[in-house]
């Protein structure tokens, strides 16, 4: 009896949370596809329009912003995968003096809010003359403590005999990582990539600080300038712009969600 009620309540809460969560998105869809006069008014048969998308697209260089976001996210993701793989392997399998301490440092870094470091990071970037570049936006995130931790845990579960077998068969250290550890940790890579991409696609504060021009400004910052109150708030156009901005990521997520779950299931069966 109790467990049935518990199930019902938790199911209800889950739906409630999901609805609250999805409301802004639903509103954005509503506002974007209807003329401005319906932006704050609900009418079932309000006329549909794509006018908002056209004007949003014309008002701001969305294509440039999107390109910037893609470049920045790609730089970050690629570098994170390389760095975290090597660091994760070293922390999981290589025996060296101070390994525990190094791992503790990585874990400590997980607890530091990135926002705390903005001023110092900005100073460093100025010194490196990287302000307002793609690399500059990505630089503080080229390594990820979370990714190192995740991959270390996964690599630790790879049986020692598999590594031994690869070694006897004549594979080099890097060869073993590439041919044995990376394929076996594939679901972890996928999960981490999803988290990383969605975080950096949506990252706002740091890019806002460090970018000055269209040359490196990502979507999030572009949207904020586009929708700033002093330029007059047109909710319909902002909604359309938002949808343009989140569109690729939304599609990517929906496509990958299937694969993501599949690969997790595959990992479980094996």
């Amino acid at each position: 009896m109790d467990s049935i009620w518990f199930q019902r309540i938790s199911k209800f809460s889950a739906y409630l949370l999901a609805i609250v969560w999805v409301l802004p998105l639903l509103y954005a869809f509503w506002a974007a596809f209807h003329p401005p006069e319906y932006a704050t008014k609900f009418a079932l048969f309000a006329p549909l329009t794509t006018e908002n998308f056209v004007s949003a697209w014309d008002q701001a260089p969305f294509f440039r912003y999107m390109l910037n976001t893609v470049i920045i996210t790609t730089i970050i993701l690629f570098s994170q995968l390389v760095v975290c793989t090597l660091a994760g392997y070293a922390l999981a399998r290589e025996k060296f003096v101070g390994r525990g301490f190094a791992f503790a440092l990585v874990l400590t870094q997980l607890m530091v809010m990135p926002e705390v470091l903005i001023v110092e990071n900005y100073r460093t970037l100025t010194g490196l003359d990287l302000v307002d570049t793609h690399l500059g936006v990505g630089l503080p995130y080229l390594a990820s403590a979370f990714g190192i931790f995740l991959l270390r845990q996964t690599f630790k579960t790879v049986p020692q005999e598999l590594e031994d077998a690869a070694r006897v068969e004549g594979l080099s250290g890097l060869g073993i990582i590439w041919k044995v550890f990376v394929p076996l940790a594939f679901p972890t890579y996928l999960a981490f990539s999803l988290v990383s991409v969605s975080y950096h696609w949506n990252n706002f504060l740091w890019p806002l600080v460090v970018t000055n021009t269209e040359a490196s400004r990502p979507l999030t910052v572009g949207m904020a300038i586009f929708g700033a109150p002093e330029s007059g708030v047109d909710w319909s156009v902002i909604s359309a712009g938002t949808l343009i901005a989140i569109g690729p990521l939304l599609i990517l997520f929906l496509v990958f969600q299937r694969k993501f779950i599949q690969s997790f299931m595959h990992a479980g069966i094996k």
């Binding site: 049986p159 005999e161 031994d164 690869a166 070694r167 006897v168 394929p183 094996k270």
Partner: protein
């Protein structure tokens, strides 16, 4: 072809392998036998290069390989867990080493064809290891070792994960494969039956040290120590203490007769083909020893029943 000299490995102040020396001849099947924790697997890993010895040398075909990496030694190895790569198809698992060593494609294909026929995996090449049974996984691991055409093949308890019936089948199969190909093999096992039935020579280890190196018949017929005597043979050899020496006699060499040494039955353990009779010999009330007797057929002795036992002098071992 392989010569191991004074191989030693310590973990902290514990010596796991102590001054191990033995050799393997061309085409020979040598078993490293011993109870678990006796250092046999560690020894094998040192030969493979997966562990670094603290002292000693390993020589292969006249060359010192002690400091070479595992890959440079060009040995093949079969692991207890099979160590198949779960993300690769059977065919890629078999060819893993050849691909890593960049062997020419047509050579790979030629070797693959012959080895697949040898172990009978024709129908499973495109499957993943997860879709195979334990015995089939074992065959893939074997194929991967054979396809390397290595000078020496190391096997680390390769049959211990199989059920009893399959284990017997694979035992004969590995042995015949080894003889047909003339492979030199070092085979680690804790199962004396495996070692006795497969090996040309057995290196019996105990507590990191070599107890005796001999052919199987030698270990059975002429054990040099009490440990060897009791480790080889099932049930273990009876050890009867008299004065300051030990008398060893195998259960299968003791007969139950009309006239002989008096004994009292303690219990009978029926095994089908024979019965293991647990009995007590010696004076009642005085010093007694418990012995096991292997009695052919089904013995029906009541507990405390008096019997007479006898054995031929030639079967006695003295330590």
């Amino acid at each position: 072809m392989l010569k191991v000299e004074g191989l030693t490995r310590r973990y902290g102040d514990q010596t796991v392998v102590d001054d191990l020396s033995f050799s393997v001849n061309e085409g020979e099947f040598v078993a490293l036998l011993g109870p678990s924790g006796c250092g046999k697997s560690t020894s094998l890993k040192m030969i493979a290069g997966l562990e670094t010895p603290d002292a000693g040398s390993i020589e292969l075909e006249g060359k010192d390989i002690t400091d070479l990496t595992p890959g440079q030694r060009k040995l093949a190895m079969v692991f207890q867990s099979y160590a198949l790569f779960p993300h690769l198809k059977v065919v890629d698992n078999i060819l893993f080493g050849l691909q890593a060593r960049k062997v020419a494609k047509d050579e790979q294909q030629r070797r693959l064809d012959s080895v697949v026929e040898l172990v009978g995996l024709q129908d499973h090449l495109q499957k993943k290891p997860g879709q195979l049974s334990g015995g089939q996984c074992q065959r893939v691991a074997l194929a991967r070792a054979v396809v390397a055409e290595a000078r020496l093949c190391l096997m680390d308890e390769p049959l211990s994960n199989l059920d009893a019936k399959l284990r017997n089948e694979m035992r004969t199969e590995i042995r015949s494969l080894q003889q047909r190909l003339g492979m030199s093999v070092i085979y680690v096992t804790h199962d004396q039956v495996e070692a006795m039935s497969m090996a040309d020579r057995i290196v019996l280890m105990n507590d990191g040290k070599i107890e005796q190196i001999d052919v199987p018949e030698g270990l059975y017929n002429k054990p040099k120590t009490v440990f060897t005597a009791q480790f080889i043979g099932n049930p273990a050899m009876n050890i009867i203490h008299s004065d300051n020496q030990c008398l060893g006699i195998r259960p299968e060499h003791i007969e139950i007769v009309e006239e002989g040494r008096p004994a009292r039955v303690i219990s009978c353990d029926y095994h089908g083909a024979d019965t293991i009779v647990l009995a007590e010999i010696g004076e009642q009330g005085g010093t007694t020893e418990i012995i096991k007797i292997r009695y052919p057929g089904h013995a029906m002795f009541a507990a405390q029943q008096s019997i007479s036992v006898h054995w031929k002098l030639e079967y006695e071992h003295r330590f």
